[in-house]
């Protein structure tokens, strides 16, 4: 079992976010990559795109399916992980080390409503036990 870093926050849609002052890094969780299977395509927004908390900002595709990415927070995209364009499978290998976008935060308080590592782990344990 991969552990969920305690300095990240998480969404119920399985994104992680790591804050550093007024910027943040966003990716998808290990649970998400396991559920998706082989990831073959990442559709990330361009630098400068405004993202809005709770709205989709891109998608991740496995061989089988397309899954939307939901923004954990609002902000402006400052950087996109170009490596994932040619090697999307890196997310399968290291989901918590393979960030998708970096953003400047519109309102850092938005992070307070997200899940802690412990809460997220509890959440996926319940979701996985159907």
């Amino acid at each position: 079992m991969a552990s969920y870093p305690t300095d990240f926050k998480y969404t119920k849609e399985h994104e992680w976010i790591k804050q550093s002052d007024n910027t943040a890094t966003i990716g998808i969780t290990n649970y998400a990559q396991e559920s998706l299977g082989d990831i073959v395509f990442v559709d990330a927004p361009k630098v400068g795109t405004e993202i809005k908390a709770g709205a989709t900002f891109g998608s991740v595709e496995s061989v089988k399916a397309v899954s939307d990415l939901f923004a954990p927070v609002s902000g402006t995209v400052t950087e996109v992980n170009a490596e994932l364009a040619t090697a999307p499978e890196k997310i399968n290998k290291d989901a918590h080390g393979s960030w998708i976008i970096k953003v400047t935060l519109k309102d850092p308080n938005e992070l307070n409503s997200l899940l802690s590592a412990a809460d997220y782990e509890k959440f996926v344990a319940e979701e996985g036990s159907h």
Partner: protein, 382 residues
């Protein structure tokens, strides 16, 4: 990220518990709960499963497929009446791809017709259309002197697919498999079980076999495990429906509800060579005769994405000016070919090989080229 939810009560094959034990991801398909892929932790995943079948061997539980037996003096006439291929050409021990048609020339289902004996045929049908197919066959063969039986629940059907399938299965059977040609069948002892139907058929565009064993859980699990064990030296992996779909799509094998359905006819689907108009009358023939005299409204084409994106089922196909001209029936990344491929229906005017079309992906027109199909053809032996 949204992740698919678990599902309500579905039918389960006799190997369901075995799949779960192996950690397979289970999904609903045609009313059945089936493994879509096995976990990365044991070396599987759709891409690995797909590659195993192309380069070694993969094992599939396809017990959700249905089986209808027709036997008796009128069995051949009955099969001829309800299917479009010419079953009179089948020798005992031979099989053929065919389809059951509605009177208007569209599809009830596609089937493999096996000639088991002098007056005995087995139709292997799709999971999602089992009851519909059986009722159709029963109701449309009443005038013939033959018995129609629904045997779907009697068999656990296991597919052993890939260039090493013959070597694997030969370890477990006394039947001489090298004497069984593609689309022929035999009977033999498999894993100690006598008189097992072994057909050299499959849905992967690769060499392989499908075996039909008793459907009790204990026997099914024992045989499944013995096959995997015997396959270790060939790198055999269990494969789910995910790889089954990408494999069949590379080989342009139709899937009911996608490339064929009750609104698409034989000519549109491009299955002409399996439809024998010159044989005696069959259900759907008159409509097809008429349709043949008229220009096709749409035709099935192969697309390879040249722009960045993956075409998926039901995405729109656009011409170069952005006008909607058709739709994708099946699309996916092709793990062996390492391209993004799709099948689509478009008017024949857009079907020319080499021409450029677009697929609408999340509101964007992404370029695709019309390419020859099948996308993948297995290398001929010698």
């Amino acid at each position: 990220m949204s992740v698919a939810e678990a599902v309500p009560a579905l039918r389960k094959t006799a190997l369901n518990a075995v799949h779960r034990q192996m950690g397979a991801k289970m999904v609903p398909f045609g009313g059945w709960e089936m493994p879509v892929e096995y976990p990365a932790a044991i070396g599987c995943g759709i891409i690995n499963e797909h590659m195993a079948v192309r380069t070694g061997v993969g094992i599939f539980d396809v017990s959700h497929m249905g089986d209808i037996r027709l036997a008796g003096p009128g069995a051949l006439a009955a099969v001829q009446h309800i299917s479009m291929n010419d079953a009179s050409r089948l020798a005992i021990g031979q099989a053929q791809y065919s389809a059951l048609l509605y009177p208007n020339g569209t599809f009830v289902d596609d089937v493999i017709v096996h000639r088991l004996g002098e007056e005995e045929y087995l139709l292997v049908i799709n999971a999602g259309t089992r009851e519909k197919d059986f009722n159709w066959v029963r109701d449309n063969t009443r005038q013939f002197d033959c018995k129609v039986e629904h045997l779907s629940d009697d068999f656990t059907q296991i597919a052993i697919q890939g260039p090493k399938a013959v070597d694997l299965l030969q370890k477990l059977t006394d039947a001489n498999l090298s004497a069984v040609k593609f689309y022929w069948l035999t009977h033999g002892t498999v894993c100690g079980l006598k008189n097992i139907l072994i057909a050299r058929t499959g849905y992967t565009a690769e060499d392989g076999f499908e075996i039909y064993i008793p459907s009790d859980e204990a026997t099914s699990a024992r045989v499944w495990n013995e096959i995997l064990e015997a396959g270790k030296e060939f790198g055999a992996v269990p494969c789910g429906l995910g790889a089954r779909n990408t494999l069949r799509l590379e080989g342009k094998l139709p899937l009911y509800g996608h490339e064929i359905s009750d609104t698409l006819n034989v000519w549109e689907a491009g299955l002409d060579r399996f439809c024998k108009m010159e044989k005696a009358d069959f259900i759907g023939r008159a409509a097809l005769e008429k349709a043949k005299a008229e220009p096709l409204k749409r035709t099935l084409i192969g697309l390879e994405m040249t722009g960045r994106g993956i075409a998926r089922d039901d995405y729109k196909v656009l011409d170069q000016s952005g006008k909607e001209i058709g739709y994708v029936t099946s699309g996916c990344p092709a793990p062996f070919l390492k391209k993004n491929i799709a099948l689509a229906y478009v008017p024949p005017a857009f079907a020319e090989i080499g021409s450029t079309l677009n697929v609408e992906i999340r509101g964007q027109a992404v370029a695709a080229q019309v390419v020859p199909t099948p996308f993948y053809k297995r290398p001929k032996k010698n």
